[in-house]
Symmetry: C2
């Protein structure tokens, strides 16, 4: 579950309520495509904006729709007590694992974050992936903290926020992480533009935003890299460059929601307000990129 | 309510539940001291960590304990729909005003934030203060956005995150804000170390962290500045310098909680986990600063 392509579906809203039908459709589409795992309620799944009840419901729908594909559920929240409730709900829903980010409002110290993972892993009965996403959590892990947290029970993977762009530097970075982490803890790259470089450098998994909406190209990239065909992985990533540029300009969430809306996979205005989503001009760019890449609802040929 | 000393009490926890008795004590202490207004559930009041029910309860306790002193209630949340619920609860509790920060997980655009204030002010029946606190919200207002939001109905004050340290530059900054804001919108300084400079530069209010726990020195500073005695305001601020240094090192919330715990105003470990509060050594520094400044529970002579 923490190797290969781990795909992050959107949690689409319709009139500010969870669009359960569209969400189930996204999950079933991922299972059909053959992704290795599905993470519901990641950043791409807008977990931070949803109530406990909404999150419990989404976790259940994900497990139901995944048809046996392992489902990881994001359990991040600002308060430890709330994380523990979400862990309970995710486990009751049948999640195979959980993903935990140290979300912050007041800046957290390394001690706070270590304490959070200690308190949560003590209560867990499924494996946990550590979610390092400084762009949204505003907390930056150090390697020392990775090492201390990886030693806690149930910790099975670290979702790193990217790798150096230069292939040799990326390989050195991943090799260094291997020396400080236990062998059973996988390393997963995130930041979709880094996926090919990260997988080619030896990352075990790609925690993928685009894979949650467009599984075909994400699978092609992952399968190539994991089978040793680095050139082909780079080629797929290069073909997706128009998307990486849009991600850089607007953030991956807004762009991915616009893609899903453009393809009719979700209703318009699928993001939680106050996030307004892309404006008209930017949506036209997204539509053009989709056509250029032959990203119809069937995902085109990859 | 949006001029003079607006004091922000902590929302103390005890064993991870709201310590209602201690909170009521903090509020009554502020009313007795004669602060101009009380803001419950500001950043200092840990609003972002609490459930809707907890926040509704805290709002009620604040209004009950304030004995007629106007109470402002923080209504920030990640999702617009939740802000609207919190506004409803604050108004039902008898709040005289609300304070709204554009809290973010995904980075917000100026359009998102303008839309948020538009959607919220449309539903309001009490005045609103705009809460600009980039250290916690990770959103930076521009002057253009201040101006656009200040033109919305019910907007009555802007809580600015500080002023330039140099007095003339601070006065120019406040004078510039006056030219772009309607006359009925007050300007309140925050960042306690900037309070004397900001009030001396012409800010109408001090949105004060320390004033919520130690009202006597905060009142002395505010009254001096507002009566034109800039030198005396600077003198009080200089005396409090040991606190400003601790704020700079550890953040105002952790230090203020440690002061309140040291003075016995709240129980130990009063902050919501994962925030662990200060370690032993830092607590000793806080205790020393309190003694040096004669900050007993009675607040000493100012």
């Amino acid at each position: 579950m923490f190797t290969g392509l781990n795909a992050f579906p959107l949690t689409p809203l319709d009139e500010d309520r969870i669009d359960e039908h569209a969400f189930a459709g996204l999950v079933e589409r991922l299972a059909t495509a053959g992704v290795d795992a599905i993470t519901a309620l990641g950043s791409t799944g807008s977990y931070a904006y949803l109530t406990r009840d909404e999150r419990a419901r989404v976790a259940r729908l994900a497990v139901e729709g995944a048809g046996g594909v392992p489902v990881v559920v994001g359990v991040g929240a600002l308060r430890t007590a709330h994380v523990l409730e979400l862990v309970e709900d995710a486990q009751s829903a049948g999640a195979s694992g959980v993903l935990l980010a140290p979300v912050s409002y007041q800046a957290l110290t390394p001690d706070d974050v270590h304490g959070l993972f200690e308190d949560v892993t003590r209560e867990l009965s499924v494996p946990l992936a550590v979610y390092d996403n400084p762009g949204t959590t505003h907390f930056a892990f150090t390697d020392d903290l990775y090492q201390a947290i990886a030693a806690l029970p149930h910790v099975a993977s670290i979702k790193i926020p990217g790798v150096p762009g230069e292939p040799d530097a990326a390989a050195r970075r991943v090799a260094h992480l291997r020396t400080i982490l236990p062998a059973h803890v996988t390393i997963g790259v995130s930041g979709d533009a880094f996926a090919a470089t990260g997988l080619n450098a030896g990352c075990d998994a790609w925690y993928s935003v685009i894979g949650g909406t467009l599984p075909a190209p994400a699978l092609a990239l992952t399968r190539a890299a994991r089978s040793g065909d680095a050139a082909r992985a780079r080629e797929v990533s290069a073909r997706l460059q128009p998307l990486w540029e849009l991600f850089g300009a607007h953030g991956s969430l807004r762009v991915t929601a616009a893609i899903a809306e453009h393809l009719g996979l979700v209703a318009p205005h699928s993001l939680p307000l106050p996030i307004r989503g892309l404006g008209e001009g930017d949506r036209a760019d997204v539509a053009r990129a989709c056509e250029l890449l032959d990203l119809g609802a069937g995902n085109g040929q990859w």
